[in-house]
């Protein structure tokens, strides 16, 4: 009896293994597009910022398609030229140099945009800014 049943059990085992394999494919088949969709949604949600650099410096806030969505005062004076890194982002924070007023404005992401939270004085006219560890 046992010898006659052996092929039957083998077939059942193969069927079970195929089912597990199929379920794995289904799982990853759902997971991979889901992760891709979440990453795409995250990028859609990203903001791009620049500063007017005018006498009354303003932060211009764009969505990821280049649509201007908000303009927020930096409460400082622009006027820098020929430099890069005048704006730096780290996580939900953004720092903007105000060359003319010798300070750096700090913005924090809130409600799909950015709000200014702080003005930090600089030793002289700032041209570039960077975040490193727990420091600005």
């Amino acid at each position: 009896m046992r010898r006659q049943n052996a092929p039957h059990w083998s077939a059942l085992r193969q069927l079970k293994e195929r089912t597990i394999l199929l379920n794995r494919f289904r799982f990853f088949g759902i997971l991979v597009p889901l992760i891709s969709a979440l990453a795409a949604a995250h990028a859609q949600n990203a903001l791009v910022v620049t500063a007017t650099n005018a006498a009354q410096n303003q932060l211009l806030i764009y969505d990821s398609t280049g649509q201007l969505i908000h303009t927020v005062s930096a409460q400082g004076q622009g006027g820098v030229g020929g430099n890069a890194g005048g704006i730096e982002a780290k996580g939900s924070l953004v720092a903007v140099v105000n060359f003319g007023s010798q300070n750096v404005s700090i913005f924090e992401r809130a409600n799909g945009s950015l709000r200014m939270t702080q003005s930090v004085p600089a030793a002289s006219n700032p041209v570039s800014v960077a975040f490193g560890g727990s420091h600005l």
Binding site: L47, I87, R109
Partner: protein, 209 residues
């Protein structure tokens, strides 16, 4: 910084080597700041374990003899990719030394740079273009002289969230261009905007869940 609050009192101040007003950009590598001054200086400043600046600036070693106006930089880990803009070169600085120098080929003055995954993108001001380089180990290999063209002379470039953003200007207006970056480093324009001349700086702010 305490959370998102920046202490208004600096915990260190260092005078740059030249300090002639030509400072171009600052970045952070492991335990050091790296700074460019257009008057042909690339220097580092040590950071204490708590992140405060310490001591005096140190001139980076092996700066090429033809150095001409170091401008932009991008950092990752212990590597800093520093442009030597007017010599049409991009260099790799690690542990206080220039290890590699790569020419920008047909594109001139690769002023500003940003890192996006395995790629380094340079914004070439007089050429009004973006070049793409593959960077790995000590290698900087140009694999697309013109990855994208711009309306004006680029003044800054940034990346993040699968995007590359560039600010350029032509004297009468500034432009913001936003590109998507695919897995091969190809740039696809997603949107552009025009604003008053003189806009400065650009950054990509991460999305919220």
């Amino acid at each position: 910084m305490y959370g998102s609050i920046v202490n208004s009192n600096p915990d260190g101040i260092v005078t740059l080597l030249k300090a002639d007003g030509s400072a171009a950009q600052v970045g952070v590598v492991q335990n050091q700041l790296i700074i460019t001054e257009k008057s042909n200086v690339i220097e580092t400043v040590d950071l204490l374990p708590d992140g405060a600046v310490s001591g005096f600036p140190t001139l980076v070693q092996n700066i090429p003899a033809n150095v001409n106006a170091p401008f932009g930089l991008a950092t990752r880990g212990n590597n800093a990719y520093v442009t030597i803009a007017h010599a049409d070169e991009i260099s790799l600085v690690r542990n206080g030394k220039v290890l590699t120098v790569t020419g920008s080929g047909t594109q001139h003055a690769p002023c500003w740079v940003t890192l996006a995954g395995p790629f380094l993108f340079s914004a070439n001001s007089p050429s009004k273009s973006i070049s793409r380089y593959s960077v790995y180990g000590q290698q900087i290999v140009q694999d697309a002289a013109v990855a994208a063209s711009l309306n004006g002379n680029p003044t800054d470039i940034a990346s993040g969230e699968g995007l590359v953003a560039v600010i350029d200007g032509n004297g009468t207006a500034s432009h913001l261009s936003i590109f998507g970056v695919d897995d091969d480093g190809n740039l696809t324009l997603r949107g552009a905007s025009t604003m008053s001349a003189g806009a400065n700086g650009v950054a990509v702010v991460q999305g919220q869940d």
